[in-house]
Amino acid sequence: MSEPKPKSMIRLLLESGPTDPFLITKLNLLEELQAAHARNDHKTMLEIGQKLAANDKAFGQARENRRAMMKKTVVQAKATADPDERAKKLLAAFEFCVKAACEAKEESQDIATFNFGVKQLGVISDELSATPPDRFIELAQFLDSPDIRVRAFAAVWLRHIMPERILPILKEIDKTEGFGTPAGTQVHFAISELELEERKKQNNTARNQKEPDAKS
């Protein structure tokens, strides 16, 4: 009996973390296609081609569905009349959209759906601000979330409101979420932004202090 074929690097990488099942199916099909191509088996290649096309269509539909679910959650929350209930639903929608957006990127590098999710977070936070008395600050409840992605996004969203509290949280998350992960990239740039702002502030202060001295 022949030795089983070693797994390809792409397969090892895809199997090493969360991966969209459609992507794994596609990889299987592409490997079958490669084998059929090596055998010059045109009939099988065409059959696999049909399956690949169907997989592609289903993959695209799943992405559409994910976006539609995010949108629906936000629309329903916005439509809630009672302010307390609306705030509660908006916060739940925030958590849902963070997870859905991050999964889109983690599972299939779907930046378009990720960006769609981030836009929904913007809609949610605007709606929270407009819900009396300004409920935006209630995002702070997520700063203790066990889900690092939810914690990260809440921290990024709140960074201008409470920078002293947020910066250490961002730095803690930055230790484990590398650049390239959905939350890691946001956190990385939020830290950079806060640090740059702080430096500019210090430079301005130093300049302002110098100017009176120069006149005297």
Partner: protein
């Protein structure tokens, strides 16, 4: 790119000072280039910087500096001298160079001729000139052996993170392969579907290519992290009026440093991006300098640029748009920080 003869000045008939400016892209003598001046009574070779020293050593003393690239040039020059134009052409040298009787001048022009053909972006001449011995393609810079590198736990974590991120890059490559429209796959009708079969075959082959590219990228990271100046083609901040100018001039440096420019999948990465607002806010010289541009394996380059397309916050700005609102220095520092986080540079 080739040398161009020009008249430098002329006081009277027979007194013309002619020269060959080897660096014709910028028209000035910069570090690493050689300017040749020729008058009726003398030839003058001016060089600046260590690279120019190597070029002059090669041109005058036949010193190949143990470089396979110079060894190939030496072989080509001998072929030109002996009228063996087939060998010269196989090595990337134009036979018209044989008309240059001054040996040093010919050897300098030869280098320009070969380097001009070996553009990393040229699909017909990818990187190393044909016939270059030594099989340098695919080899990387020796890694820094300092004890700090590679041993610290933090460093290992960085590598793990990088691997995780290559996974995302692999996914991105696969996502690109999904572009087979349903209507492009007509039933099992072989006679009508030759074109489709060819297309599917190409995709299958692409899959294999992506595998190799990812393996190379992982090898690159496993050999890192690198010092930034080891990645830079030349660390002294040479500037260029265009990206094309950078690519041509820098190739010779890359070749001499055995840096694998010919390695398929290597791409030039601008630490401060060259597009968008940056193109208007900064000069070409700022953007296209050896300080700002480094070669990276394709998947790593993809990873960084894909992250820049990510929306940043409720302002609706992408990471790229946020970055482009910063000063050149801040953007450069950010770019280096990202390479550091990926475990690419120290």
């Amino acid at each position: 790119m080739s040398g161009r003869s020009l008249t430098l000045w002329k006081r009277g008939e027979g007194e013309a000072r002619e020269g060959m400016l080897v660096d014709i892209d910028t028209g000035v003598l910069r570090p690493g280039r050689v300017l040749v001046l020729r008058s009726p009574v003398a030839e003058l070779f001016l060089g600046s910087g260590p690279m120019a020293n190597k070029l002059i050593d090669f041109a005058f003393d036949c010193d190949t500096n143990s470089s396979p690239f110079f060894a190939a040039c030496e072989q080509a020059d001998r072929a030109l001298e002996h009228g063996d134009f087939i060998t010269a052409r196989a090595l990337g040298a134009n036979e018209h160079l044989a008309e240059i009787k001054s040996r040093p001048l010919r050897r300098l022009a030869l280098i320009e001729s070969i380097v001009g053909k070996a553009s990393p972006d040229d699909p017909d001449h990818p990187g190393w000139p044909a016939g270059t011995p030594g099989g340098l393609g695919g080899k990387f810079m020796p890694k820094d052996k300092s004890p700090e590198a590679g041993e610290a736990t933090e460093q290992k974590l960085k590598r793990l993170k990088a691997l995780r991120e290559f996974r995302a890059a692999a996914q991105a490559a696969l996502v690109l392969l999904c572009a087979i429209p349903l209507e492009g796959v007509p039933g099992v009708d072989i006679a009508a579907s030759i074109k489709t079969v060819v297309e599917l075959g190409r995709i299958a082959i692409d899959l294999g290519n992506d595998e190799r590219e990812i393996n190379r990228a992982i090898e690159f990271v496993n050999n890192g992290p690198y010092k930034l100046d080891a990645l830079q083609v030349r660390g002294n901040g040479d500037i260029f009026s265009s990206f094309d100018g950078f690519k041509k001039i820098s190739l010779i440096e890359a070749i001499l440093r055995a840096y694998g420019t010919a390695d398929a999948g290597k791409e030039w990465h601008h630490i401060v991006e060259q597009g968008g607002d940056n193109a208007d806010n900064f000069t070409a010289e700022q953007l296209h300098s050896t300080k700002n541009i480094i070669p990276l394996p394709g998947p790593i380059h993809d990873l960084v640029t894909a992250e820049y397309a990510q929306e940043y916050d409720k302002s609706g700005k992408t990471v790229r748009e946020w970055l482009q609102g910063q000063s050149f220095e801040d953007q450069w520092n950010e770019g280096v920080k990202i390479l550091r986080k990926l475990g690419i540079v120290k």
